[in-house]
Amino acid sequence: MNIVRSHVLVCGGTGCTSSNSPEIIKQFNKELDKRGLSDEVKVIQTGCFGLCALGPIVIVYPEGSFYSMVKPEDVEEIVEEHILKGRIVKRLLYEGDLKEAKVATSLNDTNFYKKQKRIALRNCGVIDPENIDEYIANDGYQALAKVLTQMTPEEVIDTITASGLRGRGGAGFPTGRKWAFAAKEDNPVKYVCCNADEGDPGAFMDRSLLEGDPHSIIEAMAIAGYAIGAHQGYVYVRAEYPIAVKRLQIAIRQAREYGFLGEDIFGTGFNFDLDVRLGAGAFVCGEETALMRSIEGHRGEPRPRPPFPAVKGLFDKPTILNNVETYANVPWIINNGPEAFASIGTEKSKGTKVFALGGKITNTGLVEIPMGTTLREVIEEIGGGVPNGKKFKAAQTGGPSGGCIPESLIDTPMDFESLAAVGSIMGSGGLIVMDEDNCMVDIAKFFLQFTVDESCGKCTPCRIGMRRLLELVDKITSGNGTLEDIELTEQLCYHIKENSLCGLGQTAPNPVLSTLQHFRDEYIAHVVDKRCPAGVCKNLLRYQILAEKCIGCTSCARVCPVGAISGEVKKPHTIDTSKCIKCGACMEKCKFGAIVKN
């Protein structure tokens, strides 16, 4: 084997792939080949680094130079300058703090990574996900070996229980307890399922994990299979994630070849195999009973519990279902001991949590933080704050099942209990930042539209109730609402929460309730003043020309599609509000800031 002097890591996550990272890899190989460096320098396509906004990302080791927004035409320069001549290409370095330092400091010293603790994401952006040897080199399948050769199933469950690991899919149920329930069932056929049907709009942790480190999921599922006495597993993954599906399938094939899946694993007599099942675009399939119905080939409609899946799940057999991120923690816990995991986080929320940071924030991307890190730290330090000098207004966690956290609560620690206490939830890890330009009623309506579209339609409160709720909120944003409507909205929210059949309906009103809790004044402005404070709700907008700023250039009148603007040349213009369709074209066109909306 050749001694490799340098590694070039190119991000192959969905974000960077769509920004043409495969072409960058091709270019690297071409340029290295041209210079006869192919044996000395290894190019690796990795999973997501986390900083998606700056993709495509390339890291050159051993220096650890972090190049961002690399274009194929930059590759030649990196090879020529950095790899051949040892001169870092400063113009491509990550802007954050590295450029200031003008030296190639370690990635971990940057604000974005400094506060992170990567357990679930430990291999993402580090190894080639399509190469099982790299996973093995990073302690891969060591946990499975340890479990199968040195531990009883009870010991495995005890270890997971002792670690304090809780489900990362949203509800936070203790993983060890879930496994114990299924282990207790006396049935020769049991199943282990993985929920990779990440449906929260604005979250992509699971996708990045499957793309960046598929073997950790396979290893964890085999461990779970041993713990509960199952021999077959299913990974239910969104069909919208083609790269994740492909890498998972490659990984399963490799694991079978290496004997980590299949019969008589490690010669212990333990059999376990995995199958991938594709979702088909239904958010409700993230609910456990719906997911199982879907694997069985039916409409993904949830059913009442009990019986719980641990007793009667997939194909009516005892089944455990865990989320991708939950599984990703398992091998680490086995290898490092439950104490190590339990030492991270808060009293009731142990370990770390991966968040997909998005919206009005400088560093969008994937971050993994110890539980209990405050929202302020995440937004201001890791996320780099709200861009364009705008004011932070709220952070939304938990997606369509979650809520908004207002600025006054920005010091809330990010753990299960604290988030619930402020009317939101941990959820699967979507974290969307809003600034002063976002209308909170409109945001609530956005999530309602989502859950109305995604309701399975089985139970009355969710099927009809959510639709009626959307109609009420729509009435409010269109300026036709009354104070009574706000009251009825609230009443209906609680009804849907308490009466819906499954978790989707039980949490779907949360975005409304939490905005009502923290931003009630905005609702009231919509119904009493008939005004949208953020200037988002079209029906409530009024475009106006400030006479003192208007110079009468006529460009607004020319761009107006409905001829609502009139006025003489070089004299202030006016907008006929009865004609105005509120498209905003005039405001975009005006160079003098003479047009305002309110």
Binding site: G202, E240, A280, G297, F315, A356, G358
Partner: protein, 175 residues
């Protein structure tokens, strides 16, 4: 007797496209048959079969669904019911290119809705429809996982980042 026939627009739409019999490419059906045989002894394979059949046929019109129903010995209503539950499956022929505007939360708060409104107008189609010239099918995506590039638009397999109404016109003109 009241013989009023009223149905929601959506349903009529489906019924119409469902009853359109297109030429049946024999080789596509034999490919689908192979898929069904592959899954024959696996429990609960309907959705996987539909996935592969859609890849082969492009969409899943009535005759394909009926073929699958018969091959798997399922009631046709079961196949159609499952299919209509999942948004990934299409019963209508698709355009040459698929435009998917991301309306995940990140893209929404960064103005994805504006792109949707703009495209509805400029392409003269509703969401889920195909342009008259058969060039584009216009869809909304629930987060394509490109939150860092918001608002993002995906055309076939290519993601365009930080799109504006003006930018999208320029992009579309290249197709």
């Amino acid at each position: 007797m009241n013989r009023t026939q009223v149905r929601s627009g959506k349903s009529t739409d489906k019924a119409r496209s469902g009853s359109r019999i297109s030429p049946q490419p024999e080789e596509k059906f034999s490919e689908i048959k192979k898929v069904i045989e592959k899954y024959a002894d696996r429990e609960g394979c309907l959705i996987q079969v539909l996935h592969e059949a859609q890849q082969i046929y492009g969409y899943l019109p009535m005759e394909v669904q009926q073929f699958i129903a018969r091959s798997l010995d399922l009631p046709l209503s079961e196949v159609a019911g499952v299919l209509s539950f999942y948004s990934f499956f299409s019963v209508k022929p698709r355009g040459q290119h698929t435009i998917r505007v991301c309306l995940g939360t990140a893209c929404y708060v960064r103005g994805g809705k504006k792109i949707v409104d703009h495209l509805c107008e400029s392409l003269n189609v509703g969401v889920g429809d195909t342009t008259e010239d058969g060039k584009f099918t216009f869809e909304i995506a629930r987060c394509i996982g490109a939150c860092g590039l918001a608002p993002a638009v995906m055309i076939d397999d290519t993601v365009y980042k930080q799109v504006t109404p003006a930018k999208i016109d320029a992009i579309l003109s290249r197709y």
